[in-house]
Amino acid sequence: MEDDAKVREVVLEYVKEEYVEDEDEAEDLTADTPLITGGIVDSFSMVSLKVFLEKKYQIQIPDADATPEAFDTVNKIIELVKRIKGE
């Protein structure tokens, strides 16, 4: 898999594009910004992020792993993707 910095950039970009309305808010968003508990992504709309990750990194994220906790920050998402990829 690509290095962490590259993945971080790709996922952050997707989250901004997909979920954030406001440009100021997009600028403030970092890899540690809480997405679900911070109210940026609701647990129901999270599914498009899951589908994006599965397509982009050619993985299957089991439902048991696709929890709001595991998706709460971009850094946590990267950990999850790496774990599933077995890296």
Binding site: Y19, E21, G39, D42, F44, S45, V47, S48, V51
Partner: protein, 415 residues
């Protein structure tokens, strides 16, 4: 004993957490019929207070209208109290069929099926018409009952940013490989009172071969020139594949809902929608009264015109008074306060002034968007509105927010 102390403690703790989170919902006991003025016992055991109701979905003032009450009495006498059956066994009377036909004519659709509520209509419709090869693409702020219905169905799911047509188009492009695409939206979003741009949405659906479902619960009976709903407002009557709506708001306010739209989709609901198959039929008394309501709104626009005039007057006067009113044209008029405590305190003070309103804050609305949501009704007379505006001014002055814009209110009270 199965309900052990440990189990009881678990629930007590959860309830305490709900309270601490500021999410505890309390019932207010109303000792009068639903109307512009109501007698309220709040808190429980308190003396009755007569207040102006600025917080109901009784948009057309038909909930306690004498003609509707009489129709209910007549229906009770003619067709009895209950049917003790689901629709398809022995729960469908001639008056159910008659009401369905009247609703189809009113909404400009091919066919209609009644449900015990619109919550049930929304819970049942998706599973009835879609399978796992299909995709639902919904606005992110649709009503909770639509979300529940979507969760119950096997179709795939995606969403677009609230009323963002560019984002919707991208999603429609992305999902061209699916068998059926169904775009889902509220007609009027109940927190902000904003209207989904159905003309643009229908055009996108035609371009990308998608069906569209609109929940018009906060519109049926009064939005559009003759009150047909948001589809009439945007000139797309006959182009909405599924309309779900309620008889529990403007249209009499008792209960009941429906799925109305393409004949085959309505038939699929009769064959497969679980709340239709496994829940009791709408009681005859409500069917008879709702039928009268549809007659009234089909015959005259008098009530929706009065509601429109009330809405215009209230929006103008509240803006003049210096409140930050979310712009729009629906009778849902959010008075923006941004700070949760300010919204709660002002609602309490307004109640003391004889105005019944409630503050809304996170998570009911997004963080930092606390407000008092007011709702107009055709039951309101000018004096009700003037009294409400005067009370708002008095309370607004007390908190020093008149004339302040969003930024200034946030500076003063924080988020």
């Amino acid at each position: 004993m199965a309900y052990s102390d440990k189990v009881r403690e678990h629930y007590k703790k959860t309830i305490a957490e709900i309270r601490e989170g500021g999410l505890f919902k309390e019932e207010r006991f109303i000792h009068s019929p639903q109307d512009a003025e109501i007698k309220v016992e709040f808190p429980e055991g308190a003396e009755l207070t007569k207040v102006i109701n600025m917080f109901s979905n009784n948009y057309l003032g038909l909930s306690s209208h004498p003609d509707v009450v009489k129709a209910a009495h007549d229906g009770l006498d003619a067709r009895g109290y209950g049917m003790s059956s689901v629709r398809f066994i022995c729960g469908t009377q001639d008056i159910h069929r008659e009401l369905q036909n009247k609703i189809s004519k009113f909404l400009g659709t091919e066919d209609t099926v009644l449900f015990p509520s619109c919550m049930d209509a929304n819970a049942g419709v998706f599973e009835a018409v879609l399978g796992e090869e299909d995709i639902i693409i919904s606005d992110r702020l649709v009503h909770a009952s639509l979300i529940d219905g979507i969760r119950l169905c096997k179709a795939q799911y995606d969403s677009f940013k609230h009323m963002n047509m560019g984002h919707l188009e991208k999603k429609l492009q992305l999902h061209q490989d699916k068998r059926i695409r169904l775009v889902v939206t509220d007609g009027v979003f109940s927190m902000d009172g904003d209207l989904a741009p159905l003309d643009e949405m229908v055009a996108l659906c035609e371009k990308y071969d998608a069906m569209i479902l609109v929940d018009d619960s906060h519109a049926s009976g009064f939005i559009g020139k003759t009150g047909r709903g948001v589809h009439e407002h945007f000139g797309v009557v006959g182009k909405i594949d599924i309309i779900t709506t309620t008889l529990g708001k403007a249209l009499g306010g008792a209960s009941g809902g429906c799925v109305s739209g393409r004949a085959e989709l309505v038939e699929m609901c009769k064959q497969r929608a679980r709340p239709y198959l496994f829940s009791n039929t709408m009681p005859p008394v409500i069917v008879a009264a709702a039928s009268k309501v549809i007659d009234i709104v089909s015959e005259t626009t008098e009530r929706r015109d009065k509601l429109e005039a009330n809405t215009k007057y209230f929006r103008e006067k509240m803006t003049e008074a210096g409140f930050d009113i979310r712009p729009g044209e629906t009778p849902i008029v959010p008075v923006m306060l941004y700070n949760a405590k300010l919204a709660q305190d002002m609602a309490t003070d307004l109640y003391a002034e004889g105005i019944y309103v409630i503050g809304f804050f996170f998570p009911v609305v997004p963080q930092g968007q606390a407000r008092i949501r007011t709702q107009l009704s055709a039951a309101h007379e000018r004096e009700h509105l003037d009294k409400t505006i005067a009370a708002f001014k008095k309370v607004g002055e007390k908190y020093g927010i008149l004339g302040l814009k969003k930024k200034e209110i946030i500076e003063k009270f924080g988020l």
